[in-house]
Amino acid sequence: MESPSLVEKIVTKPYKYGFVTEIETEKISKGINEDIVRLISSKKDEPDFLLHFRLKAYRKWLTLKEPNWADLRYPNIDYQDIIYYAAPKTDKKKQSLDEVDPKLLETFDKLGIPLNEQKRLSNVAVDAVFDSVSIATTYKEKLAEHGVIFCSISEAVKEYPELVERYLGTVVPIGDNFFAALNSAVFSDGSFVFIPKGVNCPMELSSYFRINSGDTGQFERTLIVAEEGASVSYLEGCTAPMFDTNTLHAAVVELIALDDSSIKYSTVQNWYSGNEEGIGGIYNFVTKRGQCRGKRSKISWSQVETGSAITWKYPSCILQGDESIGEFYSVALTNNLQKADTGTKMIHLGKNTRSTIVSKGISAGQSSNSYRGLVQIGSKAIGSRNYSQCDSMLIGDQAAANTYPYIRSQQAKASIEHEASTCRISEDQLFYLQSRGIGCEQAISMMVSGFCRDVFNQLPMEFAAEADKLLALKLEGTVG
């Protein structure tokens, strides 16, 4: 038995969420121009401020260049060959779940996210987004009793325009980067969360994003605001069917934490990653940023990234309020020809701010997995501290693990500590577990999940087990 090749064999598995839902879809014509931007806005019946926001972003986007510094090579994207709006054809307004097309409910059932009252998760409110639109949000009323707003961003634009106008684009400015500008111009739907002063959100909030159309870009927008003393835990999940073309996903997520508030944002990303030859898969180019505006506020990012052909994302924290806290916990698993360039930025501006970074990268197949992070201590961030730990695990000798931690300090009374290591699963470790009756697949999955434990511990309880399973699934294969 040749163990290394066995290890390599094990890391291949079929994608479970690759089915397509047959449903009539309303799509606008391909391409992007000012008229398309206006059309999207009018389809969504938006107020003027948002149309202006979009147009400004579009004009800015025209002046920007696609970033290439991350060394992620991919064929040129033809932005005129993408459909920027697709929605399942249904009656305009859905008052209750009964009015939602059963095919859609069935789709989410199949994805393990039941929406109807009997089967839905008891402690998690879900916003289900299908292509460009949100089709349902559960537990809205129950949350409203606590003053918590959880709805699609389109609905928020209509129901709470003043809140959206106050916060949208304040953390990720429209011209922040190429993909953020594009998103600001054409974003279709996404989730909006508002936790008022002093409220601990009584349940987990979750958005589930499903790309169904192959030629449609997905541009969701999420905005979460926690007022003074509020707290919330939010989780997003993502899947897409298997297409042999690449689909662009360029989301923007903005988090705003005021004094003494806390936001925990967890992601389980399992977009279709393409096949073994690297055909198809999602280009996941996402801008996620949180701003700890208030004193003693806290933003915590946890992510489990297993899907997408290419991932380019750096969930970041701007630690503006004194004594605010930023955290980033990440597991990124790449296989076959997947490429991931992910990490975080911790920008320390306020006094006594603290940040923690724990990143675990696992590269298998011929994939490439990079951690890229920035820890910056500004000249006023006296007494600030950062601790970073970046570990890589390599499975097989064709995979690449890269680490680029940028560190910049302009404050003598601050401390930054960074540690990184690289390991692999050794043949002897594998044999030891096997000699105790543990099968090869399970042994690998135990070691990978042990490697990731520090991060899984940070996920909401309901999803930690799911993430573990997801990794096991990714590593599952054809051992005879």
């Binding site: 290394p4 510094w69 201590i377 000249s379 890589s392 390599l394 499975i395 097989g396 000798d397 064709q398 995979a399 690449a400 693990a401 890269n402 680490t403 680029y404 931690p405 940028y406 560190i407 910049r408 300090s409 302009q410 404050q411 003598a412 009374k413 601050a414 401390s415 930054i416 500590e417 960074h418 540690e419 990184a420 290591s421 690289t422 692999r424």
Partner: protein
């Protein structure tokens, strides 16, 4: 690219000497590529204004003034070592009889080594090297053979308000050993560009000290390129301070792996200096090892940069590489940038890296204070320890340059 810069290139003396062909190619390429810009990752943090101003200085046409070494520097010169003073327009080997074990490389040998090192320049990333190609018109080539070769000291002085460049090639033969100390000495408003190429044959050993002693408004752009054959040991200790713009690039390649590289670096900046060390260690074969420790300390409004890349491709199985970057911010307005870069494709490797940025540990100072030592004394003691960890790796004859004293003066406020 600014207008003056083009003029500066055009005003360079006619290409001549052994490097004429390289000069012509280098000048044409540098004209085409222009000066580094912020888009080039390893030049992103460089003070480009300082870089541009350096290209307005006239190139040294005359002999570089022999700097009179201080009595302290000469005091120890009884250790039977060889001291050469380099000058951009004169071959120092013409004036000296080399001792047994050291001989001048022939033109053909130099060509052979240059070919082996394949210093092809494609982009502005290698601009320091390119600048040297365009400007250097002398090459000093030395071959080392034997295990009992006298230590070698190369002094690279500068003329005030002038630009000068030198190029050195050293080949250490199979199984041979050398201690090499290079001392770059700045002059007021001078700019220096040095290209040092070293090849270690199988089982060769080189203990290399590289000291850059800057003075106010002087600049240094140095590129060190080392190739190592299997079982060779290369140990570098580099120290730089005092440069308005100091940039030391260290590229080490283990051509077939199985070699040992030890890198120690120390840079201490003050005033509005910017000091940078850019290292790149690549393992082109299995079982290589690297032990790297880089220290930077920044005082006043100065800026220290460290960029440490390690590349471990698939053929470099069983590589063992460790890198540590320790940084101290000594004043409120200083700035530190440090960036390790690890690129690994082999799975059976041990690679670790770490980085810290902090001030001197309060508890350490307190511990010393509690034993009756004043804060200032405690600080000095700790800084001394901080520096000495690097300085102790320098060749023995480095002692006479009194580096520690100079470094401690910088950090003593």
């Amino acid at each position: 690219m600014s207008f003056e810069y083009k003029n500066w290139i055009n005003a360079l003396p006619e290409p001549n000497g052994v490097l004429a062909k390289i000069q012509i190619e280098g000048r044409s390429l540098i004209q085409n590529l222009g000066i580094p810009s912020r888009e080039i990752e390893n030049w992103r943090l460089t003070d480009l204004k300082k870089l541009e101003s350096l290209l307005t200085l006239p190139i040294s046409k005359e002999q570089v003034q022999q700097r009179t070494p201080s009595s302290a520097e000469l005091a120890d010169q009884n250790d039977a070592g060889v001291r050469l003073t380099l000058s951009p327009n004169r071959n120092p080997l013409q004036l000296i009889t080399l001792p047994y074990g050291i001989r001048e490389l022939s033109k053909d040998e130099i060509k052979e080594i240059m070919k082996f090192k394949m210093s092809k320049i494609k982009s502005k990333v290698d601009w320091t090297k390119l600048l040297n190609h365009a400007t250097a018109n002398q090459i000093v080539g030395l071959n080392i053979k034997g295990t009992n070769v006298p230590s070698l000291e190369l002094i690279m002085p500068a003329n005030a308000s002038e630009f000068s460049s030198t190029r050195i090639i050293i080949n250490v033969e199979k199984g041979s050993k050398l201690e090499l100390l290079e001392v770059v000495i700045g002059a007021k408003k001078s700019a220096q560009n040095h290209l040092i190429e070293i090849n270690l044959e199988e089982s060769a050993e080189l203990k290399h000290g590289l000291i850059g002693l800057g003075v106010s408004e002087a600049s240094l752009l140095a590129h060190l390129s080392v190739t190592q054959k299997p079982n060779s040991t290369y140990s570098l200790s580099s120290v730089q301070h005092g440069w308005s713009l100091g940039r030391c690039e260290q590229h080490i390649k283990q051509v077939e792996g199985q070699a040992q590289s030890i890198i120690r670096g120390l840079q201490i900046s003050k005033g509005n200096e910017q000091l940078a060390t850019h290292s790149l260690v690549s393992f082109d074969g299995p079982e290589g090892s690297l032990d790297q420790l880089q220290k930077s300390a920044a005082a006043d409004q100065s800026h220290c940069i460290f960029n440490g890349a390690i590349k471990v491709p698939q053929k470099a199985q069983k590589t063992n590489a460790a890198q540590l970057s320790r940084n101290l911010l000594i004043s409120e307005n200083a700035r530190i940038d440090t960036k390790p870069e690890l690129e690994i494709i082999a799975d059976d490797v041990r690679c670790t890296h770490g980085a810290t940025v902090s001030q001197l540990q309060e508890d350490e100072i307190f511990y010393l204070q509690s034993r009756g030592i004043t804060t200032d004394q405690a600080t000095a003691l700790l800084l001394k320890g901080y520096c000495q960890e690097i300085l102790k790796g320098l060749p023995a004859n480095a002692g006479r340059w009194g580096i520690l004293k100079k470094l401690l003066e910088i950090v003593k406020r």
